[in-house]
């Protein structure tokens, strides 16, 4: 018998249809991948199964766990199913744990709440489960609090919590999206082992085709609330029968058309830059310890070049970015843009106008109460006198990034994530900078939108002779858009060179480790180009 069988599941929220006739079945001991872009309904499918839908949700069809329809259960009956029969882990480990409770209590709670164990016994089992997910007693006693753990460690606690009662089904909603690649590889391995050991089913929800390729036995591809294609992973990846699946694959492997425009004239020189932060003193009169975030980094970015900076979270790449932008003081070395030194806190407008930045979060980086026209025109205050024809310039910038001049009259909430990122690029472009710093600028975007933005960046670079400093944790993207790459680890640049060379023949062990941890779709799974036409 199948473990979970979802039959004709439809969902609407306040009358808006979200899911339409979603059907799939999965077996015990199997990893079932549910893939799709944001808004495709993959998370809401899992919330329907869990009975955790928001207010105003109307659901029809059936979701049978070993033959019992979960949708027919009352809320109090569902409370017995959640945690006991079905465990669930979520995307954001940093906020998924209660900050004021110890990790031991939180894992034990799963057992206590279901009356499966006394508190003392529950704590003992919690210890076992934490050991099982790789958090050993010597370093991670039960009394630890979430804020003392890294993202990957917190996700392990969440997994321990979800498997404490040995559920039959584990739902993992983007479990590794917020993690670094090396951590992602470890967490995926852990999940695979648990499925094999406990014989449970894993419903893995992700936007990342490469993650699915390495883990899932069966895959379903979702688009706009429907499953457009499903089948065994390898077969589905090889045939790509549905048009949408094909487009998704094409976008994830997209290589923008770009010619090298790099000159030899240095635009940005970073020379022996150090940045350290004061930590709390050990005692009232103890020595002041310092955290060295950037330890003597040097590199040169040439005019017209696209330079990548890769590294995992905490490696110092964001600190370095802020130092280049003159937003943070440096304790040593120098940063020069167009031959002029950058002094933190005292960057003259003319210098500021030469470098602009695009950040990761397309939702948080705009004032929601200003119209797009005003948002895009913002950098004009850097000019000594406000340039004439601002409206025309705004219209031109919007056109350049593929939007309409009439969009200037709209507010930011009317745009999708990809469109917002275009607006952010328009805002950066409007003062005709020489250098654009792209800080994880495409990381929050869906693959197809990401492919479009990469094309746009390549096109703008070719036409306007821009230079890019492209900061990302995503090796695929860096490979697609940069000429040269720097690999950063613990505040130091451990390897640099031409992008192709570094990726095909990495010299430093850390680079090799990063590349090995990055999930890839096996190269022999690709369809021949003839089949795509």
């Amino acid at each position: 018998m199948s473990l979970l069988s979802v039959e004709n599941l439809s969902l609407s929220i306040h009358g808006t249809p979200i899911l339409e006739n979603v059907s799939f079945t999965m077996k015990a001991g199997e990893v079932f991948g549910l893939v799709g872009e944001s808004g495709s309904g993959k998370s809401l499918t899992s919330f329907s199964v869990m009975g955790l839908l928001p207010e105003g949700a109307k659901v029809s069809g059936a979701a049978k766990l070993q033959g019992h329809d979960l949708l027919a259960l009352t809320e109090s009956q569902m409370c017995h199913v959640r945690g006991r029969e079905i465990g669930m882990i979520f995307q954001e480990p940093m906020t998924a744990l209660n900050p004021v409770q110890s990790i031991g209590d939180q894992v034990a709670e799963t057992l206590v709440i279901h009356g499966a164990a006394t508190r003392a016994e529950a704590l003992r089992i919690a210890r076992d489960k934490l050991n099982r997910v790789g958090l050993t007693e010597d370093r991670f006693p039960l009394s630890r609090f979430p804020h003392e753990l890294s993202g990957g460690q917190r996700q392990r606690v969440c997994i321990a919590m979800a498997i404490a009662l040995r559920p039959k089904l584990l739902i993992a909603d983007e479990p590794t999206t917020a993690l670094d690649v090396t951590t992602q590889a470890q967490i995926l391995d852990l999940l695979k082992d648990l499925v094999a050991e406990e014989g449970m089913g894993l419903l893995l929800i992700t936007h990342d085709l490469a993650v699915v390729a390495g883990v899932a036995d069966e895959v379903a591809v979702m688009q706009q609330g429907r499953i457009v294609e499903q089948g065994p992973t390898e077969a589905l990846f090889r045939t790509r029968a549905h048009d949408y699946t094909r487009r998704l694959f094409a976008a994830s492997a997209h290589q923008p058309d770009r010619a090298a425009t790099a000159g030899t004239e240095p635009l940005l020189s970073v020379d022996g830059v150090r940045r350290s932060y004061a930590l709390p003193r050990a005692g009232f009169f103890g020595p002041q310890p310092r955290l060295e975030a950037v330890k003597g980094v040097s590199f040169t970015l040439h005019r017209g070049e696209s330079l990548g900076l890769v590294g995992e979270s905490g490696c110092g790449k964001s600190t370095l970015t802020r130092a280049i932008l003159g937003l943070e003081p440096i304790q040593g070395g120098s940063i020069t843009l167009c031959g002029e030194k950058i002094r933190a806190g005292a960057v003259p407008p003319a210098q500021r106008a030469r470098m602009q930045v695009v950040f990761q979060d397309p939702y948080g980086s705009f004032n929601p109460r200003h119209k797009v026209g005003r948002l895009v025109a913002e950098p004009f205050h850097l000019a000594p006198i406000p340039p004439a024809g601002q409206r025309d310039r705004v219209a031109a910038a919007l056109t350049e990034v593929g939007l309409k001049p009439s969009d200037a009259e709209k507010y930011i909430h009317e745009f999708s994530g990809g469109q917002r990122q275009r607006i952010a690029i328009a805002r950066a472009l409007i003062v005709r900078p020489e250098l654009i710093i792209l800080d994880e600028a495409v990381s929050a975007l869906d693959v197809r939108v990401r492919a479009q933005i990469l094309d746009l960046l390549a096109d703008l670079q070719g036409r306007l002779g821009l230079s890019y400093l492209f900061i990302s944790h995503d090796l695929h993207v860096v490979r697609a858009i940069t000429d040269r790459v720097l690999v950063m680890k613990s505040g130091e640049i451990v390897e640099q060179g031409l992008t192709g060379a570094v990726f095909s023949a990495p010299r430093h062990s850390y680079t090799r480790q990063l590349i090995a941890a990055t999930p890839v779709i096996p190269s022999d799974w690709t369809v021949s180009n003839d089949a795509l036409v």
Binding site: M50, L52, E75, S76, C79, H80, V81, R82, G83, R84, G87, M88, F90, E92, T95, A96, L97, N98, P99, V100, Q101, S102, E109, T110, I113, H114, F145, H147, C158, M161, A162, P280, R281, F284
Partner: protein
């Protein structure tokens, strides 16, 4: 935790020193000194000089400040020149009323507000929530002396359950005094409880949208369990802040209520001190109130750390 407490203690002492300097300086700036107020406009210069000598007003600024501070540290606040008694005795007598009244009101307000706020949050958008929001809106808007008068009308004049005012003194036994303080405490507590309940409600609602509440639900907790076990403690931090502010307000801000109920509290003492230009009383009571506020803030800081483990390590 100890380091955190120690660092808060250092800031407590620094705040007290700064506050005492400010209070001292302000009262120095006011024209005329204590001696000229005591003797009136037509005092003879040599009497004035003699009194100044007696009151120690002739020393330098620094020496007078030090005399004042060291005196206070030994419990000597000087002598009131309107009452002709030591200020410390005056204050002690008034504290017997004000401190119990404040605590009584605070306990009442917390006991009402936390469950009510929690309930409203748990029933968000339903009838209970609307009723709570409506009532607390009224509680915030209506001044407390009006409440006080209504309470007197109902419980003292009509039902005759409780006295309408006055304070018998603790030597007459606990029960009569508790009865005497009940109506004023309720009148003080209602507006405070209304504010606190609204803060509690919005704080719980905010916590309910957090990811860890979703995690708790996925573990099998029902909505009520998720609220009590996970949202409640996290929602307490803003509530503690308001609670600390309310204590300071109640201690000195009860003056109108003290007048309605004829209670000899600190509020009335400072009011009388100001109208009679009894600077020694004013200076001492203000310093005392500032000290109480700073102490309460210190306790609130410690409470934060008890609630939130993330604060324990920060120094």
């Amino acid at each position: 935790m100890l380091r955190y407490a120690a660092s808060r203690l250092v800031s407590l002492i620094l705040s007290l020193v700064v506050a005492s300097l400010v209070i001292f300086a302000v009262l120095e700036i006011i024209p005329g000194d204590a001696a000229s107020f005591m003797l009136g406009m037509n005092a003879a210069p040599d009497t004035l000089a003699a009194l100044r000598e007696q009151l120690g007003l002739n020393g330098s600024l620094l020496s007078r400040y030090l005399v004042w501070v060291t005196g206070m540290l030994q419990g000597d606040f000087g002598t009131s020149y309107t009452y002709r008694t030591p200020v410390s005795e005056l204050i002690a007598a008034r504290m017997e009323v004000s401190v119990p009244l404040t605590l009584y009101a605070l306990v009442l307000s917390t006991a009402i507000a936390l469950p009510v706020g929690l309930l409203a949050a748990a029933r968000q958008g339903k009838a209970t929530d609307l009723a709570v929001m409506g009532t607390t809106q009224l509680g915030v808007a209506v001044p407390n002396f009006w409440f006080a008068m209504i309470l007197v009308l109902i419980f003292a004049v009509n039902l005759r359950w409780l006295p309408s005012g006055g304070f018998p003194g603790w030597e007459k036994g606990i029960w009569v005094n508790v009865k005497a303080l009940t109506l004023p405490a309720v009148a003080l507590a209602l507006p405070q409880a209304s504010i606190l309940a609204r803060v509690m409600r919005s704080s719980v609602l905010e916590t309910l949208t957090q990811d860890y509440v979703r995690t708790a639900r996925a573990k099998g907790l029902n909505r009520t369990q998720a609220v009590l076990r996970h949202a409640f403690r996290n929602a307490l931090i803003p509530v503690l802040t308001i609670l600390g502010l309310q204590f300071s307000f109640l201690l000195a801000g009860a003056i109108i209520i003290e007048n309605v109920f004829f209670l000899p509290g600190l509020g009335r003492l400072i009011f009388q001190g100001i109208t009679q230009r009894d600077l020694i009383v004013v200076k001492s009571v203000v310093m005392l109130l500032v000290g109480a506020v700073i102490l309460v803030n210190f306790l609130v800081d410690l409470a934060y750390a008890l609630v939130d483990p993330r604060l324990r390590r920060r120094a």
